[in-house]
Symmetry: C2
């Protein structure tokens, strides 16, 4: 197992990650408190997809005391987006809707350029355009959301980037990210920028993101208070398995491992039918007798994470499929249908979304372009 911001491979042991990273499992009481304050339940919390956190309890303290908090997440525009990229954003939207808070979404064009040897600046710019459109289509509050590219917003934050950078030694980034003598100085500097949005407001920042990003937050938490800000809080998701099986995460470099937001209905159905790793048995007879092994079944996992939000229905599927009364083909058809509905809605929103409101003309965006962080 390897989990870094640039690589996730092997079968991920989430208990070990929580221990190694020093984060906390979201205990039932904390989840109940979050849902109580949110005024409702969330499928990704119930299903333990968002499973770990840092200081979520303090975020709830602040919220309950009326101090508020804000949200920050991001996207590295190294290619088109797949369904796994969208899921934490959907959870983020839920948080924003429920708590009516500001949200900052960092598009890390600089990072993607310096971390990938073959990356071209022009390509990254095109992906950034496309990704921002996909992200805006999630439907965030356009007056409480600011989507920005690092390269475009840098003029507003550079002195503060220097203040962050001055507090982080090479020794720290070497230890945290495994940087070596061969690492370029742009990549070495970049962590300062990923930390920057955690200082956008004086209130506490809560970051919904996959757990592989946590190393950045560890550095932030070492330096934030000396800069007059809170240690950031975080709520961590697991990784959505690639279609081929429950190891690593969906990879942008293996096209068949993912469902892409641009995949059409036929492609989606075909990919799921052909590639989705099944826990079903190899013959009808065995399946009827033994039932499917749900713990390795990718279609069932995807349904669990998000695509079958009805707990009763999911339980029914688990019972039928796990006992062998339902076959792999049926579960796959179910997932294909749900996914295609989801993607059709996404495409529709994407067609109509006013991207500029998120990047420039919305209330928060306008405020942010006026700000200088010094």
């Amino acid at each position: 197992m390897a989990v870094t911001p640039w690589e996730v491979s092997g079968r991920v042991d989430y208990d070990k990650l929580v221990k190694d990273f020093g984060t906390g499992r979201i205990a039932p009481a904390l989840r109940a408190r979050l849902e109580r304050n949110a005024g409702g339940s969330n499928v990704m919390l119930r299903r333990d997809y968002f499973f770990s956190h840092r200081d979520l309890d303090l975020v709830m303290d602040d919220y309950e005391k009326g101090k508020g908090f804000y949200l920050y997440t991001g996207r590295g525009p190294s290619g088109p987006m797949h369904i796994g990229h969208l899921i934490p954003l959907i959870f983020t939207k839920w948080l924003q809707d429920r708590f009516k808070v500001n949200l900052y979404i960092e598009i890390t064009d600089d990072e993607k350029f310096v971390c990938k040897r073959e990356a071209e600046w022009g390509d990254i710019g095109k992906y950034a355009d496309e990704n921002i459109r996909d992200i805006a289509a999630v439907g965030f509050d356009p007056d409480r959301t600011f989507i920005f590219r690092d390269s475009e917003y840098v003029g507003n934050v550079y002195p503060m980037l220097m203040k962050i950078a001055k507090k982080v030694t090479y020794s720290t980034v070497k230890a945290v990210f495994g940087f070596t003598n061969e690492t370029n100085i742009g990549f070495i500097f970049y962590p300062a920028y990923q930390i920057m949005p955690t200082l956008f407001e004086k209130g506490r920042c809560l970051i919904p993101a996959a757990i592989d990003q946590d190393p950045y937050w560890r550095i932030q938490r070492d330096i934030a208070e000396s800069l007059g800000y809170h240690k950031t809080a975080a709520i961590h998701s697991k990784f959505l398995s690639p279609l081929q099986g429950a190891e690593g995460k969906m990879s942008s470099s293996v096209r068949e491992s993912a469902i892409w937001l641009e995949d059409d209905e036929k492609t989606v159905r075909k990919k799921i039918m052909k590639y989705a790793f099944s826990g079903g048995r190899s013959t009808l007879e065995e399946q009827r007798k033994l039932g499917a092994d749900l713990s390795v079944d990718v279609p069932f996992q995807w349904l669990s994470v998000l695509f079958e939000p009805d707990d009763g229905e999911l339980k029914r599927i688990a019972g039928e499929y796990g006992s062998g009364r339902m076959l792999t083909g049926e579960v796959k058809e179910l997932l294909a249908k749900k996914l295609n509905e989801f993607l059709a809605e996404h495409r529709e929103r994407k067609k109509n979304v006013d991207v500029k409101r998120y990047t420039h003309t919305g209330k928060l965006a306008q405020e942010m372009w006026k700000k200088k962080y010094v």
Copy 2:
């Protein structure tokens, strides 16, 4: 002897520096060619104060072929400026006047902030304001000169900074600058920005600066062609000795070692009389008999570098003082007078200079604010 961009100490052996850095002495033929193209002679060239170079011959080739070139120099705004800071700028003005070329002056507020532990961003901003005013007062062509602060111009160059940074590994900056595990990641990144202005134009860049800045140009020359630009050229000055003697360079942290641009007439005279290291003998009798040792005499050195541009007059002083007919006090009075004339003119220009033309409203400045370097 130690010569790095952040420290100059000991008795500087310029022959050794030329050898260690791999630069070239400005040979008489090259100097003659430069002066011929310039249509006149320059005191700092004649007196060997600008003594070393990289590719100055190629700059002359380009000039003679009508391809032109441009100038770039800079200033780290870590405090008020002294006379030693102004001298390379005066030489730069001579080059600009003679060749009618563009000049870029980088104010490295970011560098000064990250490289000095105790530096505060607010202080650096104030020094930058004051320094820019002093620099503008040198009298550069306001339509061919752009003075910019790193923190303010970064939005126009960030993608290009990333392209530079991507080509420079930690291993390189460690070797060139002696960075260690304790160096902060802002400082590690900074060399990318000092290289940036060498890519401002497609023509060849010529950098007039003290030789301690050369390590940056070595990195630039390793990567520039792969980015589609010329290796930068440079013309290097020696260091102006501190008043107390011919070791190291004038130090911003020892106030009495320097003549500050803000020193009034009385202070200037007093400092020179009291602190300027003399090659004269300790008694009148000895001085009359042996004469002054000009090689260690600071007032004579300062007159040589710039303040007595008349070669005949300098020769006369050397003869009189070196033979003992002239006394230290007389030479010091001479220098004090020249310096005070120089500073009075500078103060007058500073009072009246339109700084905004250099930073925003001049022809080149306006063009630069419209540019995006990608």
